[in-house]
């Protein structure tokens, strides 16, 4: 078996006391970085890259450390989502929807353990997928042109419709706010700046991290001031942390499905972990229907996005390693690391540098197990955060957010934008306008526009080009059947039978 020989090679490289130690350090640092708002996996890895040079690590050790940080940050993002309703990074956005209600109900420990297990399942399956299928899956990227990419993003936006809550118009308005913000900056297809007012700081657009931290973390501070710390999960009496076996068992299919969805989303260049967790959450919500009680602390609503985003993190390594196309911000940073180590990812990497590829896969597996083992005892430490009084915790979270955002560009401009987003977030939530579609609009809007306009360049403005491949047609069908039709069908189905006279 070639596979086992390869894997043995990988473990012989990655499995030594030193590398194990590095994996543990990396997992710990990664978890902390992921949990801090504003410091996500991509800038976390970027911050730690110099460490590998200055410690004089060889290529393998550096890879072990960085992949541990990468997976660690993916695990860590969920912690502040669940405890504080503030996503630690953008893929953890969807975890706030059910994780925070669960914590408010006094089940913070359960939510953390359940999401930890879901993260493990997602990441583990994705690593296996990477191992077995990477060279094959690389070809998938060749099937996605502008038309297919447009259909993919359209699918995501149709899923948004199911998100809107009570008032559809407000959901759509929220998405429009996000899309509108996404349009700011230099337009790729014409090279012209749009809506920037001539301000250089806006030429690259508004970083979605600024928006997330503003809309969630800063807005949360305003709500605390308004309520003087009441009406939150902070101060909730915590049950003893146990392993919620029933929740884990009842969400087993959710985890498996979400891992699959997330992995596929991760493989597609440009989609990334956020799309993975989003589509995983929305499709589980669709499957469960109104009985699933999504949005009110449903176990499946916690498991789905975490399995999805961790699987996507693994999936994103496929195009990065086999094509040199980074599927997400973090894989772009890992790509930089590889290149600095004189390893050039691309179609020949698997044959020319098997020790690198299999060493990486082995270290991902190791990191994953370390994270699972580390997370269960650590949950006890994390839930203690909720016992910190609000008048210490909230200023602390705010200051951490400022430092995290400041580290993006080192300019006060992003900080001012963040405060503005905080005020916007406060008003939106007061008016019952959901903030998650705003973020998704920012994340996906630019990509969707680019894809559509590229498609029109290629087809000379012929719209039928958008439906010209089986994949595109399949995605359109999924969008319409899965997310648009139910909106119109639901009222019909729910209608009580006419009273007989």
């Amino acid at each position: 078996m070639e596979l086992f020989a390869n894997l043995a090679l990988g473990f012989s490289i990655a499995f030594s006391p030193t590398t194990l130690m590095l994996a543990i350090i990396g997992c710990f640092l990664g978890t902390i970085i992921g949990a801090l708002p504003g410091l996500g996996p991509s800038n976390g890895v970027a911050i730690l890259i110099p460490l590998t040079f200055t410690l004089g690590l060889d290529a393998t050790s550096a890879l072990v450390l960085m992949s541990a940080v990468y997976y660690g940050a993916m695990y860590g993002g969920r912690i502040s989502s669940i405890l504080l309703n503030i996503p630690g990074d953008e893929p953890a956005l969807m975890t706030t929807l059910d994780g925070y209600p669960m914590a408010k109900a006094g089940r913070a420990g359960d939510a953390l353990v359940l999401s930890g297990v879901a993260s493990f399942v997602g990441a583990f399956l994705a690593t296996i997928g990477l191992m077995l299928l990477a060279p094959l899956l690389a070809r998938v990227a060749f099937l996605f042109g502008p038309a297919e990419n447009f259909a993919l993003f359209l699918l995501a936006f149709c899923a948004l419709a199911g998100m809107a809550g009570k008032n559809q118009a407000k959901g759509v308005l929220a998405a429009c706010i996000g899309l509108g913000i996404a349009m700011i900056g230099v337009d790729n297809n014409s090279g012209l700046p749009r809506l920037t007012g001539g301000n250089l700081h806006l030429f690259d657009g508004i970083d979605f991290l600024v928006a997330i931290v503003g809309l969630f973390a800063v807005a949360e501070v305003f709500f605390f001031i308004e309520s003087h710390g009441r009406n939150t999960s902070i101060g909730v009496r915590l049950e003893k942390v146990t392993i919620p076996i029933r929740d884990i068992w009842s969400t087993r299919w959710t985890m498996l499905r979400s891992s699959g969805v997330g992995f596929v989303a991760g493989i597609l260049p440009g989609a990334g972990a956020s799309l993975g967790s989003f589509v995983a959450y929305m499709s589980e919500k669709s499957i469960a229907g109104p009985k699933g009680k999504f949005g009110t602390g449903a176990a499946k609503g916690v498991a789905a996005p975490e399995a999805g985003n961790n699987a996507a993190a693994g999936g994103a390594l496929v195009p990065m390693l086999t094509l040199g196309v980074p599927g997400s911000g973090t894989t772009a940073v890992l790509l930089a690391l590889l290149v600095t180590l004189n390893i050039t990812p691309g179609p020949t990497l698997f044959t020319e540098r098997p020790e690198v590829v299999w060493g990486l896969i082995a270290s991902l597996l190791i990191a994953n197990f370390v994270l699972l083992l580390m997370n269960v005892p650590l949950v006890k430490v994390f839930v203690r955060v909720l016992q910190v009084p609000a008048w210490v915790l909230l200023p602390g979270v705010t200051m951490i957010s400022f430092v995290g955002i400041f580290s993006l560009s080192g300019s006060y401009f992003d900080l001012l934008l963040m405060v503005a987003f905080g005020a916007l977030g406060y008003v939106l939530r007061k008016l019952d306008i959901p903030t998650v579609p705003v973020i998704l609009g920012i994340l996906l809007g630019g990509n969707m526009e680019d894809a559509l306009r590229r498609a029109m360049v290629l087809s000379d403005g012929d719209w039928t080009f958008l439906f010209s491949s089986p994949i595109a047609i399949g995605l359109w069908t999924a969008a319409v059947l899965g997310f648009v039709l139910p909106i119109f069908l639901r009222p019909l189905l729910k209608k009580p039978p006419a009273p007989e006279t």
Binding site: L48, M183, W391, T398, V419
Partner: protein, 146 residues
């Protein structure tokens, strides 16, 4: 009721301004079939329609805080803006202690704990970020140590 109508109107006006601004983009003659204006204008139109809907079909009134709380919120915004502007010229420690202390006081108006949490957080976070994560924060105003 009223707040949905007011903000519907506000969002509507912003959307109109948003629709107007891309029309100012100068297009070079090198352009794609759709061009840089269509998407922003389309987004603006949909946003405007949703805003009008909010004006005419408002949800039940939300509860706004008392005027005094608004004052606290206003102070918080001012503190955060000042903090953003002070971070580069004055270094990390002093602005952070002041901003964190003021925020703490807004959440729970007791002087002692607020001062303690301001100073404590400032030092703690500096140590964590500078030495734990290796961010190159500047501790004090640059002038002090030349």
């Amino acid at each position: 009721m009223a707040s949905d109508r007011i903000f519907g109107l506000v969002f509507g006006l912003v959307a109109l301004a948003y629709i107007a601004s891309p029309t100012q983009i100068q297009t070079s003659f090198l352009t794609d079939p759709i061009g840089p204006k269509a998407f922003p204008i389309g987004v603006g139109i949909i946003a405007a329609i949703c805003s009008i809907y909010m004006v005419f079909r408002p949800d039940p009134e939300t509860t706004w805080p008392a005027l005094r709380t608004f004052a606290s919120l206003g102070i918080a915004v001012v503190v955060l803006v000042a903090y953003a502007l002070a971070l580069v010229p004055l270094g990390f420690l002093i602005p952070t202690a002041i901003a964190a202390g003021l925020l703490s006081y807004q959440i729970s108006p007791r002087l002692g704990p607020a001062v303690a949490s301001g100073i404590g957080l400032s030092i703690l976070l500096f140590v964590v970020f500078k030495f734990g994560l290796g961010l190159g924060l500047v501790a004090l105003p640059r002038g002090l140590f030349g």
